[in-house]
């Protein structure tokens, strides 16, 4: 860009490139029309409920249970994804084996496969008479139509988030650091656990937060396998849909507002992790 000093009153720095007004105009128009007006409509609606009313709706036992199920299963799934995501990213970055390219491409399947398709497929596998379910039933393990089933669906949905945030950072690891650790007498396990993994922490946290945030809001893949039993396996997004179908707009709005506020806080946390990691490690997660 140019070297002119930024002046306080100037909104943008001068540039010979044309089209700033048009491009920003189109962007802001579309952003305001499609995203900001609808979202603020929701917030206005929920604030119009009044604080007492809002609190009563948000702390309704069925709502609280649905939020607990959503956040609990999303947390568990994100945790599982962190463990397998790190292993998977490591295997993809460091080892070579036949079919690696296909495996790498397949990791993105949950991004590409419509959630409803994932939902019915997982239900077919884990239903009591399903492909996997029939082997688990005699053992007394029930997966489909329980919170465990929800967790399985959310593991499916969240896996690429962890792998794809950790993988590029692993590729950037400087091999000399490992060589230094090895020459100083560290065993391979010590090198990985004391030298390599701490450097991956910001990426892992970001991946965890992304998978968690996606899991909390997930609907399509979950509703088929969940069984949707109120107080037990009913997720918050489904409760919003149920309230809408009852034309109970205040309740739907209140649950949505609570979820939205929590997601925005998570977004803030993700941004903080990233700016912290940039400061500390010199790269974004």
């Amino acid at each position: 860009m140019n070297t002119q000093t930024r002046k306080a009153w100037r909104i943008r720095q001068p540039s010979v490139i044309p089209g700033f007004g048009l491009a920003l105009g189109v962007t802001l128009f579309w952003l305001v029309l499609v995203i900001l007006i609808p979202l603020s409509g929701l917030l206005i609606r929920s604030s119009a409920l009044g604080s007492a009313n809002f609190w009563a709706l948000a702390t309704d036992p069925r709502t609280l249970n649905a939020l607990r199920v959503s956040f609990g299963t999303a947390f568990a799934a994100a945790l599982v994804n962190v463990i397998f995501g790190i292993v998977l990213a490591w295997v993809l970055v460091r080892y070579s084996f036949p079919g690696k390219r296909i495996i790498d491409a397949m990791v993105d399947l949950p991004f590409a496969l419509p959630t409803a398709v994932a939902g019915i497929a997982l239900t077919t596998l884990y239903a009591p008479n399903g492909w996997i379910g029939q082997w688990l039933t005699p053992l007394g393990i029930k997966v489909a139509f329980t919170p465990v089933g929800i967790t399985i669906a959310l593991i499916f949905i969240g896996l690429p988030f962890v792998v794809r945030t950790v993988q590029p950072i692993m590729e950037e690891i400087d091999r000399e650091v490992e060589e230094a650790a090895a020459t100083l007498g560290a065993t391979r396990f010590q090198t990985i656990s004391r030298v390599l993994l701490p450097g991956l922490t910001p990426a892992v946290l970001t991946g965890f937060a992304l998978a968690f945030a996606r899991g909390v809001g997930e609907y399509g893949s979950v509703i088929f396998i969940a069984g949707n039993l109120p107080y037990v396996s009913e997720i918050a997004p489904l409760l919003i849909v149920i309230r809408l179908e009852e034309f109970n707009y205040p309740a739907a709005t209140a649950i949505a507002a609570v979820m939205l506020l929590i997601s925005f806080m998570m977004l803030l946390v993700i941004n903080l992790i990233q700016s912290w990691s940039r400061r500390r490690y010199g790269y974004g997660a």
């Binding site: 490139i17 295997v91 070579s96 990791v107 419509p114 959630t115 497929a121 391979r188």
Partner: protein
């Protein structure tokens, strides 16, 4: 993949045993990964196809020949056909403004563009129900002019646009930031107009990244379920997209038909993945490094 597969292997040989795991540990980790992927990804995908052909090819074809299914396919194509170009234009405009200029509030604008990713699909649909529903201010007003938003194509398009909003912009912004403005400045100094610069200089530079973003945007637009489900009203043969048709058929225990429609969506996903991988292999430099979605 962006990186060359043979390169780490050569480096491994050089640095020797001290910086790699024992073969047993290596194979154990590979085995764990493959088993996990087999269980979590390959098996569900296989299940879709096996269940669709459970009663033979004829039942599969018959299920797809159903007029309601046909209308669902048509509606999905219409909705994606409107939503994706809209977000394409938006994505280019946003990337142009953000990547080529320095202005105040840029970081905030970028965060706002990413906002839909952190909103539950159900809430993405709900906001339009609140805006255009029969109890809202806007809904009855538009209705009096004969404009129907909810439970009709405009509502489905709006919800889809909301959900797929960031895809193209997100792909283009880091790419165009990396490319800088030198090419455009050269074209302009040689007398090209603004539009000429865009068509003949910028667009060729970003075309593969653009295609990549459109591909991901389209996959999500055609597969979206939660947001579309809330605004659709589930009118059979009229406002059901393919994913909604899958749900209806499945809930009616019409499993073969449900999985038959699901195979089409799964094929869409597989085609998307293949094209995505090909683009990453051939044009890794021309595709933004950021691969988060």
């Amino acid at each position: 993949m962006a990186h060359d597969a043979s390169q780490p292997q050569q480096r491994l040989a050089r640095v020797g045993k001290a910086t790699t795991e024992k073969p047993a540990a290596r194979w154990a980790l590979i085995a764990i990964s493959l088993l996990f992927l087999l269980l979590m990804l390959f098996l569900p995908l296989t299940a879709v196809f096996v269940e669709a052909f459970r009663k033979g090819l004829f039942a599969f074809i018959e299920a797809l020949g159903d007029p309601e299914t046909f209308s669902a396919i048509r509606l999905t194509l219409i909705v994606a056909g409107i939503a994706v170009p809209l977000n394409l234009v938006f994505g280019i405009a946003a990337a142009w403004a953000i990547a080529k200029f320095e202005f105040k509030g840029k970081a905030f604008l970028t965060t706002l563009i990413d906002l839909p990713f952190s909103v539950s699909p159900v809430i993405s649909g709900l906001v339009f129900v609140l805006l255009f529903g029969s109890h809202s201010v806007l809904g009855p007003f538009l209705q009096s002019y004969g404009i129907k938003i909810l439970f009709a194509v405009p509502g489905l398009v709006l919800a889809t646009v909301f959900v797929t909003f960031p895809f193209v912009a997100r792909e283009l912004i880091p790419l165009m930031q990396e490319q800088g403005t030198a090419d455009e400045e050269a074209a302009l100094s040689l007398g090209a107009s603004g539009w000429q610069t865009f068509w003949y200089v910028t667009l060729p530079n970003i075309k593969w990244g653009l295609l990549y973003g459109v591909l991901l945007c389209n996959a999500r637009a055609m597969g979206e379920f939660g947001a579309v489900s809330v605004v659709s009203g589930h009118i059979r043969g009229q406002t059901n997209t393919m994913p909604l048709q899958v749900e209806i058929l499945y809930n009616e225990y019409n499993f073969v038909a449900a999985f038959a429609v699901a195979t089409l969506l799964a094929l869409l996903a597989l085609v998307t993945l293949v094209l995505k991988t090909l683009l990453e292999m051939r044009y890794s430099a021309e595709i933004a490094a950021s691969r988060r979605h």
